[in-house]
């Protein structure tokens, strides 16, 4: 194998892995802490990309890519709060909350997709490039969006991890769903913590959607495939652990890049699923999951 090939595989592995890690971390945040699987996560990614395009692109408000990204992420944080209020909170007291939210988040996904279709139409949009030309790092060339993703992913994830494990507020986010009544009796504001978790999760969704949108095209259904990918990452990593999710994201990114290089784009998803099925047969608790 040539050095070129290795470089090319590694660079796309790192880019894919980083993208999947941010995508899946947002999904895993609400799943591991609150036990709610948000099927609208991909749709939130998509909306983030459209917001950034609307604000940043010349065909939109033309404020530039940086403003588009910043306002797009901020808007998604706000949308996360509204989303939790409308889609999750009404069902929190219920015993069937996990099942009900499967349905309500699926409904929200369809609603958000159709809203995007009505607002922006079916034609693809393209985000203007972050920088006019790519950047070369150690002989490997990255587009500016790719470089941003490779740097932003670990920074974001470490920040998220520190927040969840080292701060009192983050510890409270992890605690609240484990025993809402005990949480209330310790003075935790249960509903505000749910809001916070969804705000952060939607912010991460928006961020990854914007990054994805600056590497590919923006369409109302662009979030569907990443949602499935994120779901796979979360399951592969072992349900319930954020660290496992992140490790799995990079492993799947690497597998995918290698497979695309050697056997092509067409068979890669099939191969990926095969590997995941084999892993789950051997380790049903996921790659990094505990018993």
């Amino acid at each position: 194998m040539s050095l070129d090939a290795i470089q090319s595989i590694l660079s796309s592995a790192v880019v894919l892995g980083s993208l999947y890690a941010i995508m899946a971390a947002g999904l895993a945040l609400t799943w591991t802490t609150l036990g709610i699987f948000n099927f609208a996560h991909g749709a939130l990614m998509m909306i983030g990309a459209y917001f950034a395009w609307q604000i940043g692109a010349d065909a939109g408000f033309g404020l530039g890519v940086a403003a588009g990204m910043a306002i797009g992420v901020a808007a998604l944080v706000g949308l996360g709060v509204v989303f939790e209020r409308l889609v999750i909170r009404p069902f929190l007291g219920s015993r069937q909350v996990v099942l009900i939210t499967v349905i309500t988040t699926l409904a929200a996904m369809i609603f958000i997709q159709n809203s995007a279709l009505l607002t922006w139409g079916p034609r693809m949009k393209q985000m203007p490039p972050v920088l006019p030309q790519g950047i070369s790092v150690m002989g490997i060339s990255f587009s500016a969006a790719e470089l941003l993703i490779v740097i932003a992913a670990p920074v974001t994830l470490i920040a998220l991890w520190l927040f969840l494990t080292r701060t009192r507020l983050g510890t409270a986010v992890r605690a609240v769903a484990q025993n809402p009544e005990a949480a209330a009796l310790m003075g935790l504001n249960v509903s505000r913590l749910y809001s916070l978790a969804f705000a952060v999760s939607a912010g991460l969704a928006g961020f990854s959607g914007i990054l994805l949108g600056s590497m590919r095209f923006i369409t109302p259904t662009m979030g569907v495939e990443p949602l499935i990918k994120a779901l796979v990452v979360v399951i592969f990593g072992g349900l319930g652990s954020l660290g496992g999710t992140i490790g799995a994201a990079y492993i799947i990114g690497f597998l995918e890049a290698t497979s695309i290089y050697f056997i092509g784009l067409y068979w890669t998803p099939a191969l990926l699923f095969l590997v995941i099925i084999v892993v789950l047969v051997i380790r049903p608790q996921g790659l990094f999951g505990k018993e």
Binding site: R174, A182, A184, L185, G187, L188
Partner: protein
Amino acid sequence: MSALLEVAGAVTGYGRTRVLHGLSLTLNEGRSLGVCGPNGHGKTTLMRAVSGLLRLWEGDVRFDGKSIARSAPQSIVEAGLIHVPQGNRLFPELSVAENLRLGAYSQRARPNEAENLERVFALFPKLKTRRSQKCRTLSGGERQMLSIGVGVMAQPRLLILDEPNLGLAPIVKEELGEAIQDIAERDITLILIEQDIEFIMSVTNHTLVVEQGEITVDTSIAGDMTHEEIVSRYFGENA
């Protein structure tokens, strides 16, 4: 002496079933109150109504002179009324240290966190050695110690302990009992719900008996039964 907690004509229940039928009590600052009574007669329900987990249908609860009957549990905690619930599972997937840290979540408790943590470890040295163990893996006795510890972390003015000894072996009971005694002797006002009348008598200043959602005996009222009479009347056959 001013009343720290006043419950006046409390009526509440679950669904359409009334559990409390107009119950009233008064507790002065610095005193400790024992509550006993048969299973399922509303002791826990009363405390859930006091700490804001359950809304009153009628009546009022005042803490330090202010009505808290419509307050959220969070602001009741912030005022210093701390309820350690019966059979508390706490946060099973968090460590002992993390559970204790969340005990000091309220603004009120934060300035004294380090001091209170030391106090908890002095009361229950076992917790210190198990600091990084997940709560899920604690024994029943250790979990009960942690529950009380979490309550102490909250810097209580009034601490409500709902059957802290339930289902524990005598030797663990004794250890917990000493800790509770220690808490009661400090400046914390205490409500102790407990089936073991001997234990209540050793710790508290006076005792209420709750039956059918009403207070049937109050040892602080002259002419009513004393501790000893309660023992012989309600527990005499078994004692």
